[in-house]
Symmetry: C2
Subunit: 338 residues, 2 copies
């Protein structure tokens, strides 16, 4: 039973904690919080030990009546790996501390590949992180692109990918972010960083991405144009996507014509927090014109990387070297249907 610590029990951290707890070969031994907010209270109720990520804040936690086990330095001794779920840009600064404490570290897509030195996607390059000290699970958008581009590449080969990423402006709980009523090219330059980020795990793939922010909180949406190497049919593509774990083809015609309806579907499935760990691909959008595949997909930004974090733990701690076995195990324990 491997021991896992979460640094940063926020949007991603709390989900990774629950996903790790659902496995039979790893457990959470502690999570860190900087602020004694509602998430900290809930962590206590769920039985997670809390460690303060910043020193000299005992008074705050005491006032909030939230028991703490110590600081993050006390947590290092108890873990085999820290999953760093701190805000983007903070994780890389923590890396030196992990190194000094002699613990392995998994970072999120908010960190830069070059700073961590290695990136991870379960389907694209699991083996590159086997036994590694540090790796970075690519961002929710990049994870979504890899999930569907990998099987398509295996099926037909890919000459070139163009993708336009329509991103949610903020997560549901982020009340201080926009936009409220605007479309924001983000970045206003082409290509966006998503293409190069895919290339950190799908080496050599030709891909150009454009990205905008829109006033919604639920999911990202991707529009993909994929020039194929060999000739296949739409049915061939649909067939391979149906069989791909963590990908679910959905039908607009069955009432799943938008990101809002897809989130409603995830709630009906009884998912924790209404999460959809799978990438939803609209069946109707699949089309091939002049050997170019077009499709649209939806990404639940708060949760799609969670199973990848579990797989990354197994790779780094050499608990499993076969990606398919780890993916299957993670999925089964998390109740992933796709």
């Amino acid at each position: 039973m491997k021991a896992v610590g979460i640094n940063g029990y926020g949007t991603i951290g709390k989900r990774v904690a629950d996903a790790v707890s659902a496995q039979d070969d790893m457990k959470i031994v502690g999570v860190t919080k900087r602020t004694p907010n509602f998430e900290a209270k809930r962590a206590v109720e769920l039985g997670y030990d809390i460690y303060m990520s910043a020193p000299d804040r005992e008074n705050l936690f005491e006032e909030a009546d939230i028991p703490v086990k110590g600081t993050i330095n006390d947590l290092y001794d108890k873990v085999d790996v820290i999953v760093d779920c701190t805000p983007g840009g903070v994780g890389a600064k923590n890396m030196a501390d992990y190194e000094k404490a002699g613990v392995k570290g998994i970072f999120q897509g908010g960190e830069k590949h070059d700073q961590i030195g290695r990136s991870f996607n379960s389907f694209s390059n699991f083996k590159e992180s086997v036994g590694a000290d540090f790796t970075r699970v690519v961002s929710c958008n990049t994870t979504g692109l890899c999930r569907t581009l990998n099987p398509i590449k295996e099926l037909a080969g890919i000459n070139k990918v163009r993708a336009v990423m329509v991103r949610r402006g903020a997560d549901p709980g982020q009340v201080n972010k926009g936009p409220i009523n605007s479309i924001v090219p983000n970045p206003p330059t082409v290509p966006s960083h998503h293409g190069p980020d895919v290339q950190t795990v799908m080496k050599g793939l030709k891909i150009t991405t454009m990205a905008i922010l829109v006033p919604t909180t639920l999911m990202h949406q991707h529009n993909l144009m994929v020039e194929l190497d060999s000739s296949v049919s739409v049915d061939d593509v649909l067939d391979v996507l149906e069989k791909t774990p963590r990908v679910i083809p959905v039908e607009a015609s069955s009432g799943l014509g938008s990101t809002a309806e897809i989130m409603e579907f995830a709630k009906d499935l009884g998912r924790p927090r209404g999460d959809l760990f799978e990438i939803a691909v609209w069946k109707e959008s699949l089309n091939i014109v002049d050997n170019e595949l077009f499709y649209m997909q939806a990404i639940h930004q708060e949760s799609d990387v969670v199973p990848e974090n579990v797989d990354a733990i197994r790779a780094m701690l050499e608990m499993e070297t076969d990606p398919q076995k780890s993916i299957a195990k993670t999925n089964k324990n998390m109740g992933i249907i796709g």
Copy 2:
């Protein structure tokens, strides 16, 4: 002085009425309303004669204290052309009435090309509508695509266009439409109708489009990927767009990084209703990779087709046969800067 009637004094109709009134070679002799709402009251204040588009509604207008000059049948005798600005799908049904009354008719992009038999864009195919009885000004999105694709085609030739259209969910005044917090593939199939619609005026252009609705009311946003025939530089493209009428390159770095800020800019210009008749192209988005041009643009859906309606009147009534002269005249009288 040619006499113009507007059938349907709503979002587009009221703008076309004002644009026609701003010209020195045509005038509005009447507008139709079905309902005596605030727009009808304002039309009276602006000096437009009102005709009822449906019979047996005198009581409604009387109760609202809005004077009417008669029904639409009374208007036919007074006009050289009717600009039909009724809701999408209604215009085509009116065509037989116009034919019977012996008046020419201009329709909007909500009607189907096949039903009207001819489509119009000032820059693409002005001459095809010279002397015609009926034509259709292509939709706001299609107009926006033509505005920038035409000069790029003239500059470098176009092999193939891919475009992802991020559409506003509703106009600002449409309180009963969505989405509020969702991204909606619309249609969920590929290609969307926009590509074929461009081909009604830019014959033979290879173009594939994908379209989604997002929760914003201000503008549409387009993401374009244009494979060029010949090698040009980004500066060449920017130079030609700077010189193209009704196109304005804007800089995200100067505070115009979103559709909301661009609309604020239009208000600062003192435009009527805060309209932006020009297509705004983000300078920073222009890039050429492997002879493929990428760029992003914003479309003010309520107003970009308005100057095209004025040009269409000149073409159909043979007041001008040179598109550039009509465009320049329309622009000068409307205060269009681009």
